[in-house]
Symmetry: C2
Subunit: 222 residues, 2 copies
């Protein structure tokens, strides 16, 4: 990259970090635990989130979701079925969410953050670009479906390295796709040693309770 | 985006288009047909390419591959098993290939373009960012696995809109994932009416001969 581009990019990231810092303060004051979900397109962020929201609400933890996509409001519509407030951020072609988008949508939405225990931000499906953009979250969760191949952590190291927890999805398909569990953990460990891992299926519900228990525990520990 | 960023981005794209134009002239002079493969991470670009290269070579069509990844040389190693020359472009975190990277690697590689019928460029796994970067290809093929969900074309319209052909992959998993074929075609038609579609499985080999026949036909028609 030419020096001028590097300089501009640094400016964008500095501005993003400043707004993310403001958001983080705002979230902490409201005592809402914020999770940024990142993955490839089609890994199943929305499907896991539907089940997560439903379970949290059933256990008396109010939760809401902000969901980013280049186009369409499909995901917010799907998520609203869980009973949780859900709002779409249409990025009009931008390949990741930035903190100012989260801030603007929260301001417009008029969501009562104080009344929430959890806020989920579903990022644009992209294993590269969202990694550099802090959204003020408490936790970044990277999802990886068993159908995507075991070497994704090594091939997209920045995203896995910047995440706090990894969630395997579509574990019900492990057998038909001949998922090599040892190889996948080895790849994950090579870029993010010691990371907490969940194995889930939104279809069968496997592992989702464990994931939700863990989230509740993380919020309480904070 | 601020006006200064728009201006810089325009400069990057103009430079890319200029180099892509030079590459296209070079490819046409050498009479090599160039295919740019794009998809999400884990859709199976490398698996389809392995089978494509093998079949082309068996039919007497010399072919080679340039493969982009953020990190690792895994894919070039896999592709070399087909007997085709294969070279990795490690982008060091960049989320897409640009024409200058293709140009630099071709220059370093010393590949005999005149001796080839096909050159495949496997892009970085990303359904957003590669769409704006022409690599001098004759054909852009977008891959979409049946495990990713039927609505991807609508959610990532720019990539599908800029592609010349769509290839469904992992069609052997259509049943376990309850792939809704009609819904997928409907989504594709809504952003790219009339696009040619192949349904393939690198595992069972289904549809791969039809895809290779079509590529050979496209090259001959040119």
């Amino acid at each position: 990259m030419a020096p001028r581009i590097v300089e501009i990019r640094r400016g964008v990231l500095e501005k993003n970090d400043r707004i993310a810092h403001e958001l983080r303060d705002r979230f902490h004051e409201a005592d809402v635990f914020v999770v940024n979900l990142v993955s490839s397109p089609g890994t199943g962020k929305t499907a896991l989130l539907e089940q997560t929201l439903e379970r949290l609400i059933n256990r008396g933890h109010p939760a809401a979701a902000l969901v980013g996509d280049l186009a369409t409001e499909n995901d917010a519509r799907r998520l609203a079925r869980s009973g949780a407030p859900a709002r779409q951020i249409v990025t009009d072609g931008m390949c990741h969410l930035e903190a100012y988008l989260v801030q603007n949508h929260l301001d417009d939405w008029g969501l009562d953050l104080e009344g929430l225990d959890f806020l989920f931000i579903e990022n644009v499906g992209n294993l590269v670009c969202p990694s550099g953009y802090d959204l003020g979250e408490d936790l970044r969760a990277v999802l990886l479906s068993v159908t995507e191949g075991e070497d994704k952590p090594e091939k997209y190291p920045t995203m896995f390295h910047s995440s706090d927890v990894a969630v395997f999805t579509k574990i019900d398909l492990a057998e038909p796709v001949e998922f090599d569990r040892d190889r996948a953990y080895e790849s994950l460990e090579s870029v993010r040693p010691g990371i907490t891992v969940f194995e889930t299926s939104a279809k069968t519900g496997a592992g989702v309770d464990e994931w939700v228990d863990w989230l509740v525990g993380r919020r309480e520990a904070q």
